[in-house]
Subunit: 493 residues, 2 copies
Amino acid sequence: MRSVALPSRVVRAARTNARAFSSRSIIPDEPVKPQVHTDAVPGPKSLAISKDIDQIQDARTHVLVADYEKSSGNYLVDADNNVLLDVFGQISSIALGYNVPQLIELAKSKEFITAALNRPALGSFPPKDWAKWLEEGLLTVRPKGLDHLVTTLCGSSANETAFKAACMAYRNRERGGAAFTQEELDSCMLNHAPGSPELVVLSFKSGFHGRLFGSLSATRSKAIHKIDVPAFDWPVAPFPNTQYPLAENEAANKAEEAKCLAEYEEILIQHKKTRPVAAVIIEPILSEGGDCHASPEYFRQLRLIAKKHGAFFIVDEVQTGVGATGKFWAHEKWGLKEGEEPDFVTFSKKMQQAGIFHKLETRPNAPYRNYNTWMGDPMRTLQAREIIKVIRDNNLVEHTAVTGKKLAATLEDIFSRNQGVVSNHRGQDDGTFQAFDFETPAKRDAFVAKMRANGIQVGGCGDRSTRLRPTLTFGDAHLAILAEAIEKTLKQI
Amino acid sequence: MRSVALPSRVVRAARTNARAFSSRSIIPDEPVKPQVHTDAVPGPKSLAISKDIDQIQDARTHVLVADYEKSSGNYLVDADNNVLLDVFGQISSIALGYNVPQLIELAKSKEFITAALNRPALGSFPPKDWAKWLEEGLLTVRPKGLDHLVTTLCGSSANETAFKAACMAYRNRERGGAAFTQEELDSCMLNHAPGSPELVVLSFKSGFHGRLFGSLSATRSKAIHKIDVPAFDWPVAPFPNTQYPLAENEAANKAEEAKCLAEYEEILIQHKKTRPVAAVIIEPILSEGGDCHASPEYFRQLRLIAKKHGAFFIVDEVQTGVGATGKFWAHEKWGLKEGEEPDFVTFSKKMQQAGIFHKLETRPNAPYRNYNTWMGDPMRTLQAREIIKVIRDNNLVEHTAVTGKKLAATLEDIFSRNQGVVSNHRGQDDGTFQAFDFETPAKRDAFVAKMRANGIQVGGCGDRSTRLRPTLTFGDAHLAILAEAIEKTLKQI
């Protein structure tokens, strides 16, 4: 592919990046560009393998079949030997890239092999270095004010672990710390109140919090995620219908946010009388539901209003967490003061080890209440420790913030030449966590497919949005290739 | 420790084991006996480490802190360097033992390292060898009639994946395969019927199916597992209050089972009018709830009655699966005829890769319905493949059946000399998956603690039961040590 000149704003932004970073310092063998050999991606080998898999396990959702041994850094190689620049990262779950040498070294260590092969019942027989692994890893990135954690296996179970902790703490507060009554102990065995309380979790329109029965009840992304699955009668609050670009729509967005906040508070008040809201859950950017943004002040108000009405506040950073927004946690931008911290921050995906950060006050009042067999996975905790180390040693959060600015300027430049095709570019202040819309779902799907044929794996979200979720090692060279492909693809669809 | 003479029945049973097996053929470096250096287990180092961990993560449930690098085969080494014979196996989740050399070799392979470090979004970007890995591993042990699978991350999510598939298939059948209505699509976004249907999952008293919101609604083990967590109003059917030994109580147990089956069918009938039962879930041996047994014919009737009333039938083999009962799947003993197979069999724990086996007819009618980011973990699938290979190459299921007979005879011999202390010995025909009761929870707890001081890690279940969950490599030498410790401990409590 020929190289493209970056717009002048990008060049200016690049100059501000004093410590230039190249992904090659972390992944020396990374390919230099995409290579597509087949007419379309997936190619014939991918399609044949998917057909084989489909005899055993549903393959209708396959995008392509990957060759992970050959993949490297920001480049995903598929079964047809196509080399794709991956800015989707396994649905936003790859932090640094494929086959990062420092992680491969970790995987060869006795510590890692021991952890991988001897998965413990972590709540009962933890490994002797468990505290050390947390202190050197997960705890170094704990959100301010949240000094405790529970590890889990995935984002859905992280959110449900937070829901459980919130409900337990809520009832404990209602009981004034008193012991369970016999009626509570008996009725919960029948799934009836008061033992199984009529508490609810409030979530927001277009929010996504997982696919298990509790998390799915809080998920409000798409009907296909929810239909036919029994759900708790939990309330949904409106999320602001934000207009982009933010700078040009400040007044309208502020009014919209005020309206939504009022509706949200009204739900909290109304439910207090019947089925109180034990927890409010929100993503800092509603990702799966279409990369929906709102102002820091809106989120701060959400938190304060939840507190006012006694609901615990859960920030779901499963997709937004671990640096891609230019902060380690996206909610760092909300300007929460001391005492205003979330009650829970949940994480998974890029962190590999899932879990919740929380305050001591939401630790259940008795053991074995928020417990299960595995409770996380030490090998994933070691992986998280190493990922965090690479991020810290290479200033990758700052790098992503800088790269995000360049990406924003580049995309604005391209989109200014393609008005009417692409709209609602957003996330300009959120590192590389950016998105934009097409006129219709069909046009978005065509763009994603054609981008793949042009050597780039991007993702969709919402009905007609494309989301960019590159790794934290995505840099100038990748950006130039991405920009050229977008420019080319927009002309083709 | 001195060796004990095995009772004559054990010796007879051993003679029938034509292909004598020693765990040393799989784990050459396994210790020869327990070694306890501290006055009690947990010792001072374990306690100090737990205290450190408790500053970060709830440590009240810790039994001991382990040194997994030093652990080997059936022996768990703790932070104080105590060597314990482990017949609990991380809550029944260790198939072969600690640090099994063949698995360590696997962990060093490029295939495993690649899988461990590049966890894919399996439903969208599967690895090219995925079908092969399944065909060589999980599929070779698929229950008869269930040729399809969905991989998940844990037992709870396996069960909830089955619940979701059952509800989707149930509604699809009700709709006669027609498309979703607009009302369904709209109402599910509000968690309301008809889109979020009033379907229920029926489970049984003392059943355990997990700790997330759907699986916990089906769990009926202990109040401490359920209290304060909102639950679906799902029905619970009685499980037979079986009298032991089975041979002496045949008539009474048969009558009890008939009574329970009638109540169960009545629940199915009553619910059909209001909130139909989409799925029935049961464990072949209700493990967490106290190792509750019933006859094969009882389980066969459960299945047939579910079918009669249109409910899908889920067998939860999370704890019973993978050989410990002397069959690969415990439900193989039910004598189900062709066409009577369960609709779903769920698995996790010893298999390391969790998931569900199912029939094609319960694959959702559209993609992305029973989908999530990770959908299982290829490195755990590789681990499962290797575990299955070791089991197959060493006839470990048959070995466990034979060892179980010896264990049963040995325990009966010991208990006959300790009548009044131990009762309800059960599982004599279920490999090493055996249990027995004490008079009170306190006496059971004292037994488990004292056994640990005597060098053996056993587990509790139910209110006053002890469960044995040794690995599949547990053999004659371990049995002799276990027998001696039980004999000694019973005299001490």
